[in-house]
């Protein structure tokens, strides 16, 4: 049984001008000790998925339908107090900006001790011991002294370490890490990634790593889900998705990342931008930007289909009209998304 199962999750935002669907019918699972990367551009619904799982959707956002099951227990419809117990104990969270996830008025130690005592029956002295151990574990030098300092006395990288320590307080089964390294410098980012990887390995904690950075995913994740306009476009083992992308969007996304050692005058570019939630196109949401669009893409929404070792939501792979998987893959790999641009320009 997987640790976490998300089934047909729909997250909606009722607004005055109608209901927006931020996450539209997605299903995924995370196994124990696994790192699942969730990648996508802004507005793809990746953070919303994470927030729905820990039950921290900002109102008026709500889970409209679907199920979230953690260790066999449904957690999407729990009352607030019950969910609060699970949050922190079973699911930890790490957010992008470490300054806003810490209380500036409490010392780091007090925040750690409070979290530990909320979820366990340790005495204050034991909790403090545990807090010092945690700080040492996440690589903060001189934790006995640092524990009584306030968040502003820590640098960005050290603050993010404190946040990780907070998330680890009671050995959660799952950590939702939403852009944990985005606000950090590159050299600090490498430190934090290495730390997360080590901690998962040692504690067997599963991580849902939400980020827009393919590089971070490639380094850290076991499996990756590529999201686009509230849906999963492709999900599978990280190597399969990065090196052998099936979905035209994944392929275009990989091509648009500049990388060192690859000398190309122009980057491959996907024309246009992700649609706004108010006007998601009919059929496949990617169809106006896709160089391979045909009639079915414009009318019928594709669901995830198993293709080789991963799952892809693209009609190129449904086997109709005699399209073989091989031929479709070749077509996607060889057509640059720019082709559409040139077609439109000409």
């Amino acid at each position: 049984m997987p640790l976490l199962e998300v089934e047909n999750l729909v997250v909606e935002f009722p607004t005055r001008r109608g209901t927006l669907t931020a996450v539209n019918d997605i299903s995924l699972h995370i196994d124990e000790g696994e790192v699942l990367g969730v990648v996508g551009e802004s507005g793809a619904g990746k953070s919303m998925t994470g927030a729905a799982i820990i039950g921290l959707l900002e109102p008026p956002g709500r889970v409209a339908s679907g199920k979230i099951v953690l260790e066999g227990e449904r957690i999407d419809n729990l009352p607030y107090e019950k969910m609060r117990r699970i949050r922190g104990k079973k699911i930890g969270a790490i957010f992008q900006d470490p300054l806003t996830s810490l209380n500036p008025l409490y010392s780091v130690g007090r925040q750690l001790v409070e979290t530990i005592q909320t979820h366990t029956d340790m005495t204050p002295t034991q909790a403090r011991e545990r807090a010092i151990d945690l700080l040492r574990e996440v690589g903060i030098p001189a934790p006995e002294r640092r524990i009584d300092q306030y968040p502003h006395q820590f640098s960005g990288g050290m603050r993010q370490r404190v946040v990780i320590a907070l998330a680890l307080c009671v050995n959660p089964r799952l950590i939702i890490a939403d852009e944990p390294t985005t606000a950090l410098d590159v050299s600090i980012q490498a430190q934090i990634i290495a730390l997360l990887k080590r901690l998962c390995r040692e504690h067997g904690t599963a991580v849902m790593l939400v980020t827009h950075d393919m590089g971070v995913i490639a380094e850290t994740a076991d499996r990756v889900a590529v999201m686009y306009a509230g849906r999963i476009a492709e999900i599978g083992p990280v190597r399969e998705v990065i090196k052998n992308a099936k979905h035209p969007y994944t392929h275009g996304l990989m091509g648009s990342i500049p990388s060192i050692g690859h000398d190309n005058e122009r980057l491959e570019q996907i024309p246009g931008a992700m649609p706004r939630l108010t006007d998601i196109p009919q059929g496949c949401a990617f169809n106006p930007r896709c160089p391979h669009t045909f009639d079915k893409c414009r009318t019928v929404r594709p669901d995830l289909l198993p293709v080789e070792d991963s799952w892809t939501a693209c009609w190129l792979y449904d086997g109709e009209d005699g399209r073989s998987i091989e031929a479709s893959k070749k077509l996607v790999a060889e057509t640059k998304a720019d082709a559409l641009l040139e077609k439109n320009d000409g």
């Binding site: 551009e41 802004s42 690589g139 030098p141 001189a142 640098s155 990288g157 050290m158 410098d185 590159v186 050299s187 600090i188 980012q189 490498a190 430190q191 990634i193 290495a194 730390l195 827009h212 950075d213 393919m214 590089g215 971070v216 490639a218 380094e219 990280v238 190597r239 990065i242 090196k243 275009g252 996304l253 990989m254 091509g255 648009s256 990342i257 500049p258 990388s259 060192i260 050692g261 005058e265 122009r266 980057l267 491959e268 570019q269 996907i270 024309p271 931008a273 992700m274």
Partner: protein, 367 residues
């Protein structure tokens, strides 16, 4: 439009010094900018604190040739944005000179600077903050045209604005809209159109794609490369993203704590990085090719620039540091293949070549 560009290029080709050498588009020498970050006077007197000076840019030299793209990389707080602001004149330098085609623009008065500003424009990081939300796009783009008197009459201005919008792959009709009606990438296109409105030769781009998604970033980088070819522009491109800098730059400078530690042609810098800090930076790039290479997470963080370490400012994080590094400030020295490096170890030849920094035994307390 094309004729104008050709004429401009011709005119520029003639700018040579007495010796017949081509004059660099931009030449920065001994540039320094200090900020006084002391507590208020009364506090200082009562608490007996000395003045605190932040050396944001502490003596840097570089040249950018005509039509070249010079990339400037470094981590936050290293002073790269201060350099950008110094060059466009948003800050005055504490010391040093900034020459634009042989003319020092560092100490110019507002009036003397005005005609220079036309030739020198800036693109900012955040396209949400750099466009006035209450102006229509056509007014935003027309402002430099009006300010520098580059077109006569409303009809001519409108035509020029339409032309500029089409240059950045928007449509002339978009001029009627307000900035909030555009996505991040489109707003950055508007910023570029505004920068191009005064027909500049030199663009300072401070993290122009950092706020954008990768697929949109690719569009903007491609657009910038196209524009450079079309108009013969020179770029100073500032970014913390090494892959982006590699992609767009001809030459790259690496900054650390207000100093340039290494300047080299982009290819040289990324294939044979010399300075230990450059190697450290290159080592932190996530590995998209998934070679499974174990990387050494680099120890330590950038020190406080108010009290930088003595000697080479990188020595507390450098695995090759010795006594000389702790006391003597290294000077930038050319290495022959176009690279300029400020490092005692490289100068003495005691740092082995190699693309990556070998993980040495880490001193206690740095982890």
């Amino acid at each position: 439009m094309a004729e104008v560009v050709a004429k401009k290029r011709e005119a520029r080709a003639k700018i040579r010094d007495a010796g017949g050498h081509e004059v660099a588009m931009l030449k920065v020498q001994g540039l320094k900018r200090y900020f006084d970050v002391s507590a208020p006077w009364l506090n200082r007197v009562i608490e007996r604190q000395p003045k605190q000076i932040l050396r944001a840019v502490d003596g840097i030299d570089f040249e950018i040739g005509q039509g070249e793209t010079f990339g400037l990389v470094g981590e936050s707080g290293c002073g790269k944005s201060t350099v950008a602001r110094l060059i466009v004149g948003l800050y005055g330098p504490t010391e040093g000179s900034i020459e634009l085609e042989g003319r020092d623009i560092a100490g110019l008065s507002r009036q003397e600077m005005a005609p220079m500003r036309r030739r020198l424009q800036m693109i900012f990081q955040d396209p949400y903050a750099s466009l006035n939300p209450r102006w229509r796009v056509r007014d935003i783009i027309a402002e430099p045209i009006r300010a520098f008197g580059l077109a006569d009459g409303q009809a001519a201005i409108d035509a020029r604005v339409g032309e500029l919008l089409e240059t950045v792959k928007l449509t002339a009709r978009d001029g009627e809209k307000y900035p909030h009606e555009f996505s991040g990438g489109q707003r950055q296109r508007i910023s570029i159109a505004r920068a191009l409105a005064s027909e500049p030769e030199f663009l300072v781009c401070d993290e122009p794609t950092s706020a954008l998604d990768v697929s949109v970033q690719a569009q903007i980088l491609n657009l910038m490369k196209d524009l450079q070819r079309e108009f013969g522009l020179t770029y100073l491109f500032i970014s913390h993203n090494l892959a982006v800098v590699y992609h767009i730059s001809d030459r790259v400078g690496v900054m650390y704590l207000g100093k340039l530690v290494e300047v080299a042609p982009a290819k040289t810098l990324f294939t044979t990085p010399r300075h230990p800090y450059t190697r450290l930076l290159l080592d932190t790039i996530p590995d998209l090719d998934m070679t499974g290479r174990e990387r050494m997470p680099v120890a330590g963080e950038v020190p406080n620039p108010i009290t930088p370490p003595p000697g080479c400012t990188f020595h507390p994080r450098c695995p090759f540091a010795n006594e000389r590094c702790r006391t003597e400030i290294p000077k930038a020295r050319p290495l022959g293949d176009g690279a300029i490096v400020a490092c005692h170890g490289i100068e003495e030849g005691r740092i082995p070549d190699g693309a990556l920094l070998e993980p040495p035994a880490k001193p206690e307390g740095l982890a």
